[in-house]
């Protein structure tokens, strides 16, 4: 028996043939469309080749770009795909109407998205967090106030960017469930992304950070690449890795068989990757976690990652999220058209003041941290009663800018009459002026009233004017907040017609309504 073993082993080595001695000719090279960070597997691929006789030739691409290239199936001619996650690919495949056999797919290792920050930032984040447990809301708040600038890959191209985006959007929605289309609201993510410096892929992000360590405070990327970045040395200050308490979207690095004729080589590759000794090597080399049992995690990975933030099960949700993301890089410009008629005296103006204080940073709930005014944003307040009674525009670059805005909102100067629709027209004129200055910004109007329109044009009159093609800034959406006695039907109709929607503050509170409605598309 032992003779046979040695003989078999030697023969296998000599032939480096996968299927054993004297059988089929070796399939010794597989082309692989691979996520860009898998460049770190290169040292192990030589061993894989020695052991299995299969050489993998990796072509690197961002995971989302790769997923787009793979659908419809058959267009791409690689033998395998090896992606950080195949969730986006599988959703696209299902949506494309593919009904044939899906490619075989096998998880090979796991990582999840985290944020690496300089030690001082980590300390500040923990100090501001409940029980020192940092959430994405805490990170969003620091970013919105300009204290945290981080590099993160573009979710339209990269798996790390996409999973990070899904993670923060899920955390921001705070439903404890996968994202639904109605949960995807950009206002919650704007603050966070005001601190983002984007790069195309995970690899580019690391490069960006290495080159500009002085100008950046952190990196959002896979736990594995952050640990590698630290381990490789070369950073002036090693990053502290924070795994936000909201949980994580897992990336499980599936290998997919695209060319069924290469099945045997695929099996050999998968089998090799999943052998416990190789899982250990992968973990030690790349800091990705093992997917097989019986592999004790290395020191750096004996850290909880929380529960799952789910990858949505509908492509619609992901696409919507990506569309919202695109608007994040543009300047946001919000025009608040606010009712200062007599009925706003007393409790109502107090509620309005408190709502603006909340948006300026006083609201320390998670939703408040996500929705607050962010650096780089421009905010206009138009006060109205029978006519326009005041107007102020503030470009937010520092906390003091928000003080000026809060003071302006707090002034108790009320007028008679309520000309809601004339005021909204004025809002659109302001929007048009702002767009003339900078056509690339994202402008929206938020209209709040607590009474019935009793002066100037009616809602019908307004909509009639609005429907003319030359109405100024016609593409800008209006979001309405109903308070007090205001007509829900009219506010809803106008908002919906312009592409926005209404929130009823009588059902909740002004603060909640303002948080909900910070429209930005």
């Amino acid at each position: 028996m032992s003779r046979l073993r040695v003989l078999g082993a030697v023969c296998l080595l000599a032939a480096t043939a996968l299927t054993g001695c004297g059988s089929d000719s070796p399939e010794d090279e597989l082309t692989v469309l691979a996520s860009s960070e898998l460049v770190d597997m290169q040292p192990l691929l030589d061993e894989l080749r020695e052991d299995t006789g299969v050489r993998l030739r990796l072509d690197y691409q961002g995971t989302v770009d790769a997923s787009n290239a793979l659908v419809p199936l058959g267009r791409d001619h690689h033998d395998l795909a090896w992606l950080s996650t195949d969730s986006y690919f599988q959703l696209k495949l299902a949506t494309s109407g593919h009904t044939g056999e899906p490619p075989l797919s096998k998880h090979t290792m796991v990582s999840s998205v985290a944020i690496g920050v300089k030690p001082a930032i980590a300390t500040a984040l923990r100090a501001g967090a409940v029980n020192g447990q940092v959430s994405w809301a805490d990170i969003a708040e620091m970013a919105a106030t300009g204290q945290l600038r981080f590099a993160m890959a573009d979710p339209r191209h990269s798996g790390s960017g996409l999973t990070a985006l899904i993670g923060v959007a899920t955390a921001a929605a705070a439903t404890g469930k996968p994202l639904r289309p109605e949960d995807v609201t950009c206002d919650r993510l704007h603050g966070l992304f005001s601190g983002q410096v984007a790069a195309d892929t995970s690899q580019d992000v690391l490069e960006a950070y290495r080159k500009n360590e002085g100008g950046l405070d952190g990196v959002v990327n896979y736990e594995s690449t952050l640990l590698s970045l630290n381990a490789r040395g070369g950073l002036r200050t090693p990053l502290e890795i924070i795994r936000p308490k909201d949980g994580a979207v897992l990336s499980e690095y599936p290998v997919l068989l695209l060319n069924p004729a290469k099945r045997r080589a695929y099996d050999a590759v998968v089998e090799w990757l999943l052998r416990p000794d190789n899982q250990r090597k992968i973990m030690a080399t790349t800091f990705r976690r093992a997917v097989t049992a019986d592999v004790e995690p290395i020191e750096e990975l004996r850290v909880p990652i929380g529960t799952a933030l789910y990858f949505p099960d509908r492509q619609e949700v992901v696409d919507k999220l990506l569309t919202y993301y695109e608007s994040q890089s543009k300047t946001r410009d919000v025009i608040f058209v606010l009712d200062y008629s007599g009925s706003m005296r007393g409790a109502s103006i107090a509620a309005l003041r408190s709502a603006f204080e909340g948006l300026s940073g006083a609201d320390t709930s998670d939703s408040g941290k996500f929705a607050r005014f962010a650096n780089g944003e421009q905010v206009t307040v138009v006060r109205f009663a029978q006519g326009i009674v005041g107007e102020q525009t503030v470009a937010v670059t520092k906390p003091a800018d928000l003080d000026a805005l809060r003071r302006f909102v707090a002034v108790e100067d009320f007028g008679e009459g309520t000309a809601v629709w004339a005021a909204l027209e004025r809002g659109y004129q302001v929007a048009a002026d702002h767009l003339r200055e900078d056509p690339d910004r994202v402008v929206s109007v938020v209209l709040m009233t607590d009474g019935l329109n009793n002066a100037g044009p009616s809602a019908e009159d307004f909509l009639a004017k609005w429907s003319a093609p030359d109405f100024p800034a016609r593409a800008v959406r209006t979001y309405t907040i109903r308070f007090g006695e205001a007509s829900a039907a009219e506010l809803d109709r106008v908002a919906t017609t312009t592409g926005g929607h209404m929130v009823d503050a009588t059902a909740t509170s002004l603060s909640t309504a303002f948080k909900e409605i910070r429209g930005c598309d």
Partner: protein, 365 residues
């Protein structure tokens, strides 16, 4: 060189060629659900090799087998009866004598802190009566009431068992894909049985309606994962991202049997919840060629393979009682015996099951 030689031997063992590397090995091609793992077990491979057989399987999920071309396959091995019935119908005359070798109940696998949180709320009971049991019985009705109410783990008090940490995800049992996995269809049956008032629907219209009623109890889990058991048994921090997963008992017991042989002993962190009404999965080996038939006979008769099946946590399908060999083995290894099965759910007919699956999930094709 010696290192390479060792590597080579391992590879040979794994590919099953060790005993007869150069002559007469029959290659048998199978398409399976999760039970394909049986043929990838090293001991099983070696035993089959001694019979000059090498089995190559493709695990596509039991319910997906149907969508694949069966003409060039020697056998299909779905994990449960409903898929088996469909496959037999599709393959028609190609089918030879099916073999039911072993069984395993469907379980909800979790970690201690989640089980104890449910125990505080009277949703599960510890089989040993204290907080060290490996097994808990699950009151399905109470559990589904929590799922239906959108309870979060924090609402149930996970903090008490989790070092003060809140977990704001809603309580849900995560399954594999309803479109492809027998285990997911099995869990759907259990949920349907409970929400249907202790019975499963007997006509398609009722099944469709019930399916739509219970959809919300099943679909709050995002993209499903077809490697649930593997994930559950790997890195505990990764596994905990999914607090409750629907798997088969044998997958858990295989893990504990392995652990029993180690110095560290049994895994007291991972525990099972047994629904008060159970569903026993009966994998069915369906030969589709003479070679497949030969293998089926071997599975039924080869003592070594049967012993190995028990070591892999399966209950043997025998006349004198399914669990007997397994319980003996567990006893030998000082592993507590799983709770006795009190009652099992009567599975719905195929048409009704399909109607419910269609109502809860959008399957392609």
């Amino acid at each position: 060189m010696s290192v390479f030689a060792v590597g080579g031997v391992i590879l040979l063992l794994v590919t099953g060629n060790i005993f007869v590397p150069f002559e007469g090995t029959e290659e048998i091609e199978g398409i399976t659900g999760s039970k394909g793992a049986f043929f990838n077990d090293e001991t099983v491979r070696r035993e089959l090799a001694s019979h000059h057989i090498k089995v190559h399987v493709t695990d596509v999920g039991s319910r997906s087998i149907l969508g694949h071309d069966l003409a060039n396959k020697d056998f299909a091995f779905p994990s449960g009866a409903p898929a088996a019935k469909q496959i037999r119908a599709k393959a028609g005359a190609q089918v030879r004598d099916p073999v039911k070798v072993f069984t395993s109940p469907l379980v909800l696998a979790t970690f201690r802190e989640f089980a104890e949180t449910l125990r505080d709320r009277g949703i599960v009971e510890s089989v040993s009566g204290d907080s060290t049991s490996m097994y808990y019985t699950l009151n399905m009705k109470k559990f589904l009431d929590q799922v239906a109410g959108g309870a979060r783990w924090s609402d149930l008090g996970i903090q008490q068992h989790n070092g003060g940490q809140k977990i704001d995800n809603v309580v849900v049992a995560q399954t594999s894909d309803f479109c492809s996995a027998n285990s997911a269809a099995g869990y759907l049956t259990l949920v349907a049985h409970d929400r249907g008032g202790g019975k499963v629907p007997t006509d398609v219209v009722a099944a469709d309606k019930l399916g739509r009623d219970i959809k919300g109890l099943l679909d709050g889990q995002g993209r499903t994962d077809d490697a649930l058991a593997t994930t559950y048994l790997s890195d505990a921090n990764v596994a905990r991202t999914k607090p409750i997963v629907v798997i088969y008992e044998h997958q858990y017991l295989e893990h504990q049997i392995k652990r029993a042989a180690r110095p560290a002993g049994l895994d007291r962190d991972r525990v099972l919840l047994y629904p008060d009404i159970q569903l026993i999965a009966e994998p069915e080996f369906i030969p589709l060629s003479p070679k497949g038939e030969e293998l089926g006979k071997l599975l039924n008769s080869d003592e070594n393979l049967r012993v190995r099946a028990v070591e892999l946590g399966y209950q043997l399908n025998t006349v004198q009682g399914d669990g007997e060999s397994l319980n003996r083995l567990l006893d030998d290894k000082h592993i507590p015996a799983p709770p006795q099965i009190k009652s099992t759910v009567v599975a719905p007919e195929l048409a009704e099951l399909e109607a419910m699956i269609k109502a809860v999930s959008s399957c392609p094709g």
